[in-house]
């Protein structure tokens, strides 16, 4: 079982308070030990007293004395018979003042009476006809004080149940708001930046509620920051596009006006402006994806068909540069997702592979169905025959603008955001993406796992 905070608090408090319950039950017995003795002996003493009356009336004091001695030997309790304030009737005088007083009180009230004595407790009971029986009862054994048989089970059970109930309530009242906070935190982390917990914790006025308010403050700030960043990026992109739009028209005008030199330079300007534009779009896409606010409309997608068409297109492009893209295996797989996002994601990976694979080699693409931990996945592998990536840098290739070698990117094109977009898209689809070097040091393997929807 997972050791949750709930079970920890619950079990510890339960144990602690049940233990306290047991001890205090025991202590309460120790405070009043005479009741144990009285409970144990009263019946016996009264019965013996009644038989002593008969003996006394029939055979006189000496016989009574013997009977008393017998009783004392048997039960280790000294016993005396009184009549009114006279006694002990056996004629023995070893009764203390307290004992005598107890007997007289019992005789006077006609009820049982008790007084602490040096050895234990004086107990006297009226027997009728003015007779009173008095006994000096021994205190209970120490262990008996702890385990009084009659009520122990009930007391322990009660203390367990009551302690359990309160511990449960305590643990729940402590952990429930924490669970709610956790849920809110997860929602927030998942991109729902408008998540707040204030209303959930409103009734409380403790540290956890404070934590909740702090969470809200934090969430508000983060939301504002993310909003501001997004708005800024949107604005920048828009503002960059206006001059680009003008540049494009001016470029065409220049092209038309310079008939004598239909130049390379103008083509170059056009290409660079196109590249700039692409960079802006990708930056925007990435911001949208990272904020997690872009809702994706999921529909069933024939991944095999998608991969085939991407491979076909990119193979066409790669051939210009004396490289190939080919499909090794392609199984029929349908996943739920946004076709456009998946297309971009896969295209980026394949483009990247073409960029780095050595001249004359090919990029190998395979699509398989696989079952991992009883969940079905579509596994897409893209492998190139290039230099690979240094092991230390493997984790960084999904970072925007990260390049393994500084000069490489410029030689081979690409905006530097493609793989970052791929990663985000895959994550949004509930999948994972990993990169690794092929073991023989010949190329890079990118593996994308996408969950397959059942039904």
């Amino acid at each position: 079982m997972r050791r949750t905070l709930f079970s920890k608090i619950f079990l510890w408090f339960w144990l602690a308070s049940a233990f306290i319950g047991v001890i205090s039950a025991a202590l309460s017995l120790k405070v009043d030990p005479k009741s144990i003795s009285i409970n144990r002996y009263s019946e016996k003493v009264i019965n013996a007293g009644k038989s002593f009356i008969e003996i006394y009336e029939k055979d006189g004091p000496p016989a009574l004395g013997h009977a008393c001695d017998d009783f004392e030997r048997e039960n280790r309790v000294s016993i005396y018979l009184f009549k009114g304030s006279r006694g002990p009737l056996s004629g023995r005088q070893n009764v203390t003042f307290e004992g005598r007083h107890t007997a007289i009180t019992a005789a006077a009230t006609g009820m049982a009476s008790d007084t602490p004595s040096a050895r234990g407790v004086w107990y006297a009971a009226a027997l009728g006809d003015d007779y009173t029986v008095l006994a000096e009862l021994p205190p209970p054994m120490p262990m008996e004080q702890f385990f009084q048989p009659e009520f122990l089970g009930l007391r322990l059970a009660m203390s367990f149940i009551v302690a359990g109930l309160f511990s449960y309530l305590l643990a729940r009242s402590l952990t429930r708001p924490i669970l709610q906070l956790r849920k809110a935190t997860r929602r927030f982390a998942g991109g729902a930046l408008a998540t707040r917990v204030g209303s959930i914790l409103e009734i409380r006025k403790d540290e956890i509620a404070d934590l909740g308010w702090d969470f809200d403050t934090m969430a508000e700030r983060i939301e504002a920051l993310v909003d501001a960043q997004q708005r800024l990026l949107r604005d920048i992109s828009h503002e960059l596009r206006s001059p680009l739009a003008r540049l494009n028209v001016a470029l065409e005008l220049a092209r038309r006006n310079s008939k004598e030199n239909p130049g390379n330079a103008l083509d170059r300007i056009e290409r660079e402006s196109e590249r700039l534009n692409e960079l802006i779009s990708e930056l925007l896409t990435l911001t949208l994806l990272e904020s997690g606010t872009e809702k994706i409309e999921k529909e069933p997608i024939n991944l095999a068909g998608l991969v085939e068409s991407i491979v076909e297109d990119s193979d066409f492009e790669a051939r210009d540069r004396n490289r190939l893209v080919k499909i090794v295996t392609c199984e029929e797989v349908v996943v739920n997702g946004s076709e456009e996002m998946l297309l971009r994601a896969i295209e980026n990976v394949i483009r990247n592979a073409i960029r780095y694979t050595n001249e004359g080699t090919s990029v190998e693409v395979s699509l398989l169905r696989q079952e991992i931990d009883e969940r079905k996945f579509a596994v897409l592998r893209v492998r190139d025959h290039g230099p690979g990536v240094p092991e230390a840098a493997l984790g960084k290739v999904f970072k925007p603008f990260y390049r393994v070698e500084d000069d490489r990117g410029r030689l081979t094109g690409g905006t530097g955001i493609g793989l970052a977009i791929t990663e985000r898209s895959v994550l949004v689809h509930g999948g994972t993406i990993t990169v690794s070097n092929v073991s023989d040091g010949d190329g890079l393997l990118v593996e994308i796992l996408l969950p397959i929807s059942e039904g």
Partner: protein, 249 residues
């Protein structure tokens, strides 16, 4: 009538410098261009009936481009091309659904703009004659009656309002009724361009056709999507009577 017909275009965009550059660029292309920088006068001018074509920027000060489009569409069927921010799929889909004929992401290559304008413009004035598109006649399939001369569509005798692109799309589908028309062919003929893999423009136009004409005809799907290939206009067997007037070559 001049051989190269003067297309009259209204450009509504608040970027004055861009408007100037485009005016310079489009003039030698045989396009007469009028530029308006703010939405209100833009709507007024668009409804004046003096233009063949409207190019409308989505981002306008005050009233959004969509609102401008809505107000133009309330009164006129003049072809409208929206300039959208690139990558903003929502913008372009919303634009098309609100009755724009096509869109062009900004920044654009002006050659592309001219091509788009011509693609739509060719059809709006069939009398100016560039051959292939001028096949006059009527098409009658099922409950739909399409007249290419007057560019009107009637369903059970009732006039159905259509934008220029919707009309062209329906015409293509009706001509090929009962056969699957490839998406690529359709977009080339109707939009005058090839679609990138995730361009949904054609689908949006098809769905607005479905909305206007009803999804079913005689109990079967009117325009069927053939996944991965294209569309099929239902040729309901008993009612199928293709007008003989539609000459082919």
């Amino acid at each position: 009538m001049v051989k190269k017909s003067m297309l009259r275009i209204l450009l509504i965009d608040d970027d004055r410098e861009l408007c100037e550059l485009l005016t310079d660029y489009l003039k030698p292309e045989g396009v007469q261009i009028e530029t308006v920088f703010s939405p209100e006068p833009g709507i007024e001018r668009a409804l004046s009936g003096e233009h063949d074509f409207v190019v409308l920027d989505v981002m306008l000060p005050g009233i959004s481009g969509f609102e401008v489009l809505r107000r133009i569409r309330a009164k006129s069927r003049i072809p409208v091309l929206m300039l959208t921010a690139r990558g903003d799929d929502v913008d372009r889909i919303v634009g098309l659904e609100m009755g724009a004929d096509d869109y062009l992401p900004k920044p654009f290559n002006p050659r592309e703009l001219v091509a788009r304008i011509r693609a739509v413009g060719r059809r709006i004035s069939p009398a100016t004659g560039e051959g292939e598109r001028t096949t006059q006649g009527r098409l009658e399939i099922g409950d739909i009656e399409l007249d290419t001369a007057t560019r009107t569509v009637r369903q059970m005798g009732e006039l159905v309002e259509m934008t220029s692109i919707e009309f062209n799309l329906l015409e293509e589908l009706l001509r090929m009724a009962g056969q699957v028309v490839a998406r690529a062919d359709l977009s080339k003929k109707v939009l005058g361009r090839t679609l990138s893999p995730y361009d949904r423009s054609l689908d949006v136009h098809v769905s607005s056709l479905r909305r206007k004409l009803g999804h079913d005809v005689g109990g079967i799907e009117r325009i069927k999507t053939i996944r991965g290939i294209g569309y099929l206009y239902a040729l309901s067997a008993p009612a199928a009577t293709q007008s003989a007037e539609a000459a082919d070559s």
